[in-house]
Structure formats: C-alpha cells, structure tokens
C-alpha cells in the first residue's frame, strides 16, 4: 500500500478557538461561559462549552471549557470536551491563585495563550487557617505568568465589578472583549449580556469599565480607583502638646531607622493608656537603644531597637477586657461598622458583641493583691466561675449594655495596678532581659528573640497557647546562642510555631534544633 492511497481525504486546516475559564464554585463561571457561547452562536459560529460542576460547585476550584469554530454550512464540527495543555488560546482566571493553577496545569503557553486574570485574592482554607500569615505569594504567579503567557491582562476585576454593582463574570467578559482576541465586535459581547436578561445594566457598566482597562492598561493604573486618602506622616505633630512633645523625642533621640516604628508604637501605647505610659515606653526604648549601641547596633541599622520599638509597643498594649470595652464603645467604631455593613441613611444599626468572660478575666482586672488572694482559692474561683463564665450577647446599642462596657472601659484608671498588668509587665521584663543577655554575644539572635513576641496573641486559650509556644521557642535559645546561624534557627522555630494550632511543626523543628550540637 503506498502512502498516496492512504491519504485520499483532504483535511481542513480550520482550528477552533479555545478558551478555559478557571473559577471557584459560586463565582458565576457558568454565566460567563453562557455569554461566550451565546455570543459565538449569535455570530453564526458553532460553539460548545463543557464543565464539571460536580462537587466543585461548593467553592472548590473548577474549569469551564469552550471551543468555537466558524464551520461551513451543513458541516458539524467535532469539538473536544476538555482543554488540551498547550492548546488553549485564552485563559480567564477569576482569581489570582486560579491563574496560577491554570499555569500549573499547562493551559498557559507562550506560543498562544492570552491570560486574562483578576488579581484579587480569595484565600483558600489552607491559607487562612494558619495561626500566622499563610497567604500565598502572589509575586510567584506574576513571575510565572510572565514566563508562561503570550500576553497577560491582569487587574483587580473583582473590585472593578463591585464598583459597578456587578460581579466578576461581567468584568472578565469586558476584559475578553477589550483584549481583542475573539473575532467579534464589542456590540456582539454586549448583545450577549442583554440576551442573558439578568442585571443587564450593572453588567454592561462593569463590562465597559473592564473593556476600557484591557484596551488601555496604562490608563488603568492611573485611574483614580477609590480615592485613598494620603496617610498622615506618623512623625508629624498631631496638635496635642503633650503627645507632640513625646513625638519630638522620637524624632530627636532615636536613630532614623527606628523612628517610624517608634512613632507608631508610641501612638499605640498612648491610645492604650495615657501619655505617661507613652513616656515609659520611650524611656524603655532609650535604655534598649543604649544597649544596642554598645553592642555595635550602629553598624547593623539598629535592628535590635527597631524590633523593640515594634514589639514592646505590642506587648505594652496587651489585649485586656478594658481595651476591648474601650474599642467597642468609641464613637468612631460605630461609624466604621456602619460603613462596613453598608447602612443607609434611614436605617437603624445595632450591634451585638459575643463575649465570654470568665473568672480569669475578672480576677485579672482586680488590683494585683486582691487578684492573687482569689487565685490562691481555686475552689472559690470555680464556684464563682459558674456564675460568670457564660456566653454573653452584649447589645452595645442599648443604654444598659453600653453603660456596662463604658464602665469596664473606665477601669483604665486602675489598669496599671491590676493583676493582669503586673503579669504583663513581668513577662516583658523577662523577655527583654533574655534578649539583652544575648545581645552582646549574638546580636542577630537577640533581634529574633524580640520578634518571638509575635507568638503571644489572642485571648483566653489562644493567649495561653501563644505564651506556651513563645516559651518553647525561647527554650532553644541556650542551644543557639553560640551559633552564627542561631538567629536563622530561631526564626525557623517561630515560623514553625505559626504553622499549626497544635504546634506539631514546632515539635519537629525543636527536635531538629536539639540535634544541631551533635
């Protein structure tokens, strides 16, 4: 058999245009697919879409796939049911990590793929359940898309849609039109939205905005998105003589590298308590700076003092019931909630707080001696706890509840004499003491010790767990103090402690550290 006989048919070289939509369940990927198919059909093309909703419908990642071809009359194209890696013309990603996923799946290739992505993030459970900052690094997607895509059109299409009262399917559709990758005029796109029949005007507005942005990406960056008010200079006077005097000390006494953090820290502690407390903060910082200088901090950009400026402020402005009551009763808070919830002029807003005070909090707010007296009587505390410890729905909008919180916030006057304060102050002393001990011997390690304060956060059990982790991480310090890479190891331990709630990662990391000397 000769080859000539095997190839009697002449094959068409027509190739369908292929599009993949990567979205999460509930994002309207199906609507977008319907618009694209509807538009192509209205333009006389044959279009086919497929999807695998299945269990992915509940917020999981999912892909919609579309092929379209302008077939000669009476001919039925055979279209594929799923994207072939390396053979996709347009990828529309409705979230930035989904754009990353499309690249990982090989759907984005430099010879043909236009990647249209929204840069907004919807964090996956794996990211948000970490006790620390588990957010994936968007820069990795930016870099990879630069390598993988023929062309990238990326911006926050979620925000853009929201601004026009619409959803992301409309702004993605607008970007697709603006990208000019489909052989259809803008009117054809708009007609598809109209044919859909739901929320047409808002969709068209979002579509138009995204269209313009895709057509003219440079103008997009210049467009005055939401007018973000310029941030006030934290070192500039605020018009309060007492505070401004302290701020002058920050500007005058502290090295440049430390000033911004110290100004923020000062503001935090003064807001927490009063000017005298702010003064105590600065005095402490001055002592730490002196030690820093002695340890040669000038050559290291005063990293130690900078870390202290940050974490000392956090430690001094600890989270006690007085602070919570104070924050919840401020006038500014009501305005913020109104804004966040979107309360209209004629509507009335009430807030309910979910609090669960226990005897521990009550005792913590007592004068130190009285608090200790109670603590020495656990039986009594347990009996009292039965009356105290229960969930309380605090209706801050009613006078009775507001007054209750107001009174608690007023306990600020006795705060520095409370048991809680004495505990916090002692903790700060021990913590700074350890760092200062290490400072002359291992500067970088001392800086990391200060940074471990990040582990102490939250309330009740969370707070206790944080303190336990803090202690366990610092327990490694004696093993690390003479090591040049001691700071790196302590940082790793801290990061491990932020990986999971139970501290499993920390257990493993501590074991590794224990074997370092062997």
């Amino acid at each position: 058999m000769t080859r000539h006989e095997t190839f009697p048919t002449s094959l068409s070289t027509d190739r369908p245009i292929t599009l993949a939509i990567l979205a999460m369940g509930g994002q309207g990927g199906g609507v977008l697919a319907d618009w694209i198919v509807g538009m192509a059909e209205a333009q006389g093309w044959t279009a086919q879409s497929t999807s695998v909703p299945g269990v992915a419908q509940r917020t999981g990642a999912t892909i919609y796939y579309i092929e379209m071809v302008k077939a000669p009359d009476g001919v039925h194209p055979i279209l594929a049911l799923m994207p072939t890696p390396g053979d996709v013309d347009v990828v529309l990603a409705a979230e930035f990590m989904e754009a990353g996923r499309s690249i990982l799946r090989g759907l984005v290739t430099p010879d043909r793929t236009t990647l249209i992505a929204s840069t907004h993030r919807a964090y996956a459970i794996a990211e948000k359940q970490k006790p620390g900052d588990g957010a994936a690094d968007p820069q990795a997607v930016v870099t990879a898309s630069g390598v993988a895509a023929k062309r990238v059109i990326a911006s926050d299409l979620d925000k853009l849609a929201a601004r026009h009262g619409s959803v992301i399917s409309a702004s993605l559709f607008g970007s697709l039109a603006g990208a000019g990758v489909l052989p259809f005029p803008r009117e054809a796109f708009e007609e598809a939205i109209r044919a859909g029949g739901k929320g047409v005007n808002a969709s068209l507005a979002a579509f138009a905005a995204a269209y313009d942005r895709a057509q003219n990406p440079d103008a997009a960056s210049a467009e005055p998105a939401e007018a973000i008010p310029p941030k006030a200079d934290p070192l500039a006077p605020v018009g309060h003589p007492g505070f401004d005097a302290l701020l002058a000390r920050v500007r005058g006494d502290l090295p440049a590298e430390v000033r911004l953090l110290a100004a923020a820290g000062l503001r935090k502690v003064v807001d927490f308590q009063d000017l005298a407390y702010g003064e105590a903060y600065l005095a402490r910082l001055a002592d730490l700076l002196a030690a820093d200088r002695a340890a040669g901090g000038a050559d290291r950009g005063f990293a130690f003092t900078a870390a202290c400026a940050k974490y000392l402020a956090v430690a001094m402005a600890y989270d006690d019931v007085i602070r919570v009551a104070d924050l919840k009763t401020r006038g500014s808070r009501r305005e913020r909630v109104s804004r966040e919830v979107g309360v209209k002029e004629e509507e009335i807003l009430y807030t309910t707080e979910f609090m669960h005070p226990r005897m521990e909090e009550v005792i913590g707010t007592m004068p130190a001696a009285l608090g200790r007296w109670f603590e020495a009587r656990p039986g009594l505390v347990a009996r009292l706890d039965r009356f105290v410890s229960r969930g309380r729905r605090v209706r801050t909008g009613t006078i009775r509840w507001y007054l209750a919180l107001y009174v608690v916030a007023g306990l600020k006057r006795i705060r520095l004499r409370t048991l809680r304060h004495s505990r916090e102050a002692a903790h700060v002393d021990v913590w700074l003491g350890r760092a200062l001990d290490v400072l002359p011997r291992n500067y970088a390690l001392a800086v990391e010790i200060i940074g471990c304060r990040r582990l102490v956060k939250g309330y009740s059990d969370t707070h206790a767990r944080g303190e336990a982790k803090f202690d366990r991480v610092l327990s490694a310090v004696p093993m690390l103090v003479d090591r040049e890479d001691g700071a790196d190891w302590l940082r790793r331990l801290k990061q491990a402690a932020l990986m999971d709630e139970g501290g499993l990662a920390l257990d493993g990391a501590l074991k590794t550290v224990a074997t370092l000397g062997e």
């Binding site: 095997t6 279209l79 870099t143 390598v147």
Partner: protein, 717 residues
Amino acid sequence: MAERSFAREVEDLKLGDGDVFRGEGILAITKALLQAGVSYVGGYQGAPISHLMDVLADAKDVLDELGVHFESSASEATAAATLSASVMYPIRGAVTFKSTVGTNVASDALANLASGGVTGGAMIIVGEDYGEGSSIMQERSHAFAMKSQIWLLDPRPNLETIVKMVEEGFELSEASNTPVMLEVRIRTCHVHGHFRTKDNKKPDFTLRQALESPKRDVNRIVLPPASYLHEKEKIEKRWPAAVQFIKDRKLNEHFGPAEGETGIIVQGGMFNNTMRALQILGLADVYGNTTVPVHVLNVTYPLIEDELATFCAGKKAVLMVEEGQPEFLEQALAHILRKRDIQTKLSGKDVLPMAGEYTTQVLLKGLKAFFADHERPRLGNEPPIPDPEPVLADPSVKALAQVVPPRPPGFCTGCPERPIFAAMKLVEKELGQHHIAADIGCHLFSILPPFDIGATTMGYGLGPASASAFNVEADKRPISIMGDGGFWHNGLNSSVGNAVYNKHDGVIMIVDNYYSAATGGQDILSSRAESKRRATNNSIVDAVKGVGVKWVRQIDHTYDVGKMRATLREALTTKEKGPKVIVASSECMLNKQRRVKPLLAKAAKEGKRLVRERFGVDEDVCTGDHACIRLSGCPSLSMKHLDDPLRDDPVASIDHTCVGCGNCGEVAEAAVLCPSFYRADVIVNPNGLDRLLARMRRAVISWLSARRDRRRIAFPA
C-alpha cells in the same frame, strides 16, 4: 426541585418539529424522552443527571398534556423497580441515576428486570461519574450491563447522536425484549450543543389502560423454572435480536476511509477527544474528516462481532480506545480476533493507561505510540504538537506548585452543617478523638480542613451501618453521621433499624437540612416546604422513634453551638443503652437564600420593617490567630492584611457575602475564642417606635462617647 426554577429549561421541552434546541446534553436527553413517547420517568437525583429530574419536576404542564407520569424515586432501587411497568405492557419508561453508585443500589431490581425481559422499551440513563469532577469511586457501569445482559449505549458526545440513541434505544429495547442502559459521562451531560427537535409524542398505550386491563404471565417472573428459561432466552433470542437491530440501524458509525493499514475503534463517549488528538497529529480535521479509519461504538454492549471482524480484517493493527478498567472491550475484541483467526495486531491498554481519564493529552500520547509501532509513516509530517512541557519545566512555573493552594469544595457560606462540626470539634477537645463514621452528602466535606472529621464513608445512608461492628464495651462510643437524604434513601432501615435491633450503643447524628442538598436541593420526605404533588413534612424524629429508638434529641437550630455541644456530650456520656440519635435541623442556606432573598427584597421595597443581619470583625480587637477560621472555614470569613507596621499577621475579616447565620458569634462564645465578632442588625424601614428608641439611645450613647473622646488624643488617620 424546591427553591430553584427551571421554567426556562421547561420551555425547551415544548419545542416542536424543526425547531433548534440549544442547551445542555442532559436536557437534550430529557427532550428526547418526550419525543420517544415515554409514559413514565423516575430516578434519583445526583450529578451529573440531576437536571433531568429537576426540569421534569418543574414541567408538570408539559407532562400532564402528554400523560407522562414523573416521580422522584426514593432511591435508585425504587427507580429501577419502577421499570417493571414495561414488563407486561407496551409502555415506554425511563429512569435515571448517577453511576456506578446508583447502579449499585439499583442492581437487585435491574437484574430481575433483565431476567424476565420487557415488552415496552425500558431505558436506564446512567450519568457515568468518572474522571475529573467526579465525587465517587472510579468504576465502570459496563460491568453491570454485562452481568445482567442489559444493552449499553455509549453515544458520541454530539446532541444529535445522543437524541437519536435515546429514540432508537427504546426500539432496540422492544426489538430484543431487553432493558437498555444509556451511559453519559459528566462532560457529556454538561456539554452545550444543539439539535433539531421533533414534536413530543403521546404514548400509544397508557398507564391507565394497563391498570384497567391488567395482564400477567408467570413466565416473566423470576422463579424456577422460568428463571432458567430466561437465561436461555437471553442468549438464544434476545441477544441475536439486538445484534440484528444494531446492525440494521447502523447504530455504530464509521469515519474516514474504509481501508487502511491501521484503524481505531473507539467508545462513542471517547470519540471527540480522540478526534482532537488525531487532529493535532495532522490525521483528522475539526469537521470529522480523518485519514485513519475510525469505528465508533455507540453501542458498547453487545459488540457486533461481524462489524468488528470486518473492520479489523486486512488491517495490520487496530487500537481500542476504551476508558476505565477492566478492559472489557479489548478482551472481547481479542477473543473475536482469536476465534476468527484474524491476524490483526490489537493494541489498547498497552499504549494507553489502564486507569484514569482519557484526556486529549493522554490519547495523544497513546496514539503516537500506536502509530510509532504500527504505521510509522503517519507520524512523518505531523504539525507541531502543543507541548506545555517546556513551560512546566521552567523554574518559576515549577515554583508555583509550592505556592498555589489546593481549593477543595467546602460548606457554603452560612451552611447549617458548619456549627454541627464546630461543636464536634469542641467536644473532641473535651472528650478526646472518637471513631467517626461518615456518610454521603454535603456533610462529608467535614473530612476536609478545617474540620478533618470522619474516618470512613461506605455509601448513601450507610454511615451508622458502617459503625455496626463497633458495638462492644469500650470507654468511647462511635459517632456516625447521616444526612436526611441518606436517611430516607435507606438509612432508616439499614442504619437506624439495624442499630436498634442489634442494641448498638453508638451516637447517630442525622443532619437534616430540609432538602437533598448535595444533589441540588430537591425535596424529600422530611422537607418543610408544602408541596401540592408530594407529601412532605414527615418527621425524621417520628420515623426514628417508630423503629424503636428511645434516646432521641431534636435540635431545631443547628447554629446553637452550645446546645449542640451539650447534646453531643450527653449522647457520648449518658448511661442509657441503645442508639443515641440526634436530629440536627436547619435549612440548607443555599436554598434558604434562594427562597428568602427575593421575599426580603420585595418586603423592603414595599416599606415593610425587617432586620438585616450580618457579622463583622473588629480589626483592632482581632489578633490574627485565626482560631475562628479553624472552627468554621466559611467562605465569607477570610483574612485581611492591615496597613499597620506593628502588625505581622492578617486579621480575620468578614466580607459582604455574609448571610448572618450566626455561626461566628456562637463559636466565638462557645469556644471562648475572642470578642472580635459582632453582629450588625440593620433595621430596614424602621417604625416609629424604632426611631424613637434609636434617637433616645443615640443621644445618651453619643453624649457618653463624646465625653470620653474629648479626653482622648485624636490621631489623624
């Protein structure tokens, strides 16, 4: 279908001669059933065939006009048994379910049906839930067809072809007195395409006629000696009749040249992707022209030996493209070739993978290997093949694998099942870990983060049944979970009844969300909606008591985490013997929103007073530990990075999609987490009293807060 309307899709069912249907594959099948003159349709919902059920449930007027009876069956077994109406009477009927899970449940009735045979056309439409997006074990329905000798249609994913196979499938069933199975894969069910419609057909013989002039024939009943005769009849009469029909009607198709050195035999469902792979290799085009002979098996059981022998004869080698395992078709073809002494080489699972979905990429690789072995010149002048490998090998792309997080499905925003598992998590902290037997349904998402609850899942309504062995003296009791869907599917008997009878001491949590939620929100026996055509509002608690459970607790608001925790604790520690059943009821939020949202919008527009609830987080109070997220996983509860140099960790944050279910507050309270959460109650269209109270309260509170603000230093933002 309760809260979602399929009115638009119902319109498509009314299309007549020469109209063009545009839509999903599964809806095309629905329309085809009406064109084929069915008298009754039954089934059990589940992806990917739910829409067939949903649309027919909404299509009362169309069905009434045609005299078609439709019902949502209690289970796939019920659906399959429904087909017995076609045993004695010339009545066409169809049932549908997800496969292989549904076919597993249905197989008792299917085997009986297939043994006795049918008079009227009987069709089983199975949604083959295989490959990406599937939610079940990866198996083939093919085995069921073979074991019971039910003919298996696997039409190529083209709406015209699918519709034709439905219509001719009924004829095949009648010509061979055998039920027919129509297999459609996930993507085929959801493919958007078009076909030219025909008028719907009223059944020639009605169910009423059958009822009023009943017939019986003891030879059609599966009892000896008839059952022995059935087996012989299957082989001697029905099989040859089917083969003849399939040949005569040319149900299998041929593409490309008649002759060739090599050829490809493909399951209908695999045709499109195979053609794409051939196209990429330069051996076919997008319009179905190919230079390689391709034989398409729109009927994969029985195989037509003559057709296959003719196709193979004279070719050096053929490739069998058959997805899934075992490779029944390849084995059968090998048998045919051996028996007929045809020396054509047979390739299949040697170049294609034995297991896993046949994507275009996989097929491309297999076809290349096949041609490389058997007809090398075909690969001679191939166009450049799309290849993502260079990009995937790039370090910056490889690095993405460590960055892009997995995104598994989870509970929806405001899901009433979330607080149940949050409570379980809290009880676990008190009483230690327990063996937890899971079931099928939305609640199975508990096995994923953040809850990580559930050890096994054995089937629908079998959660408690799967804890049966753990009925021994121990310091801990097993917990099992079952949804309302599973409960009515067979859990009442297989799980609860079994536990009562065997004096099981475990805890059974029945998650009652008023719907068969995971399959799309269809109504079931215990649904709370009033339905004209169905009897709803049947109490699960009554049913459970009816089969003899003594310890039953009903929780009518699952969001009460404290109560849920206390009840679970009691169930795990009570001295009382026998199964401890907790029925946790709250409406599926997805469906509740569908139901309530339009009503609320309307009420607000009309000026009626209502309270809109939403949750929020005070970001100054939140310390960024995310303990709340670990007890929730709600899509609307996420995190936010603050523009504050003193903060390292992002704080919890609730977005505008929050539906105010209450879980956040309840969990914060029950788990003593933190006081960051607040619920905002917004009174829309407040009345006079509201306004008066608000004015008074505002006056006092503003005065107090202003008093303190004056003493505070005002920092610029």
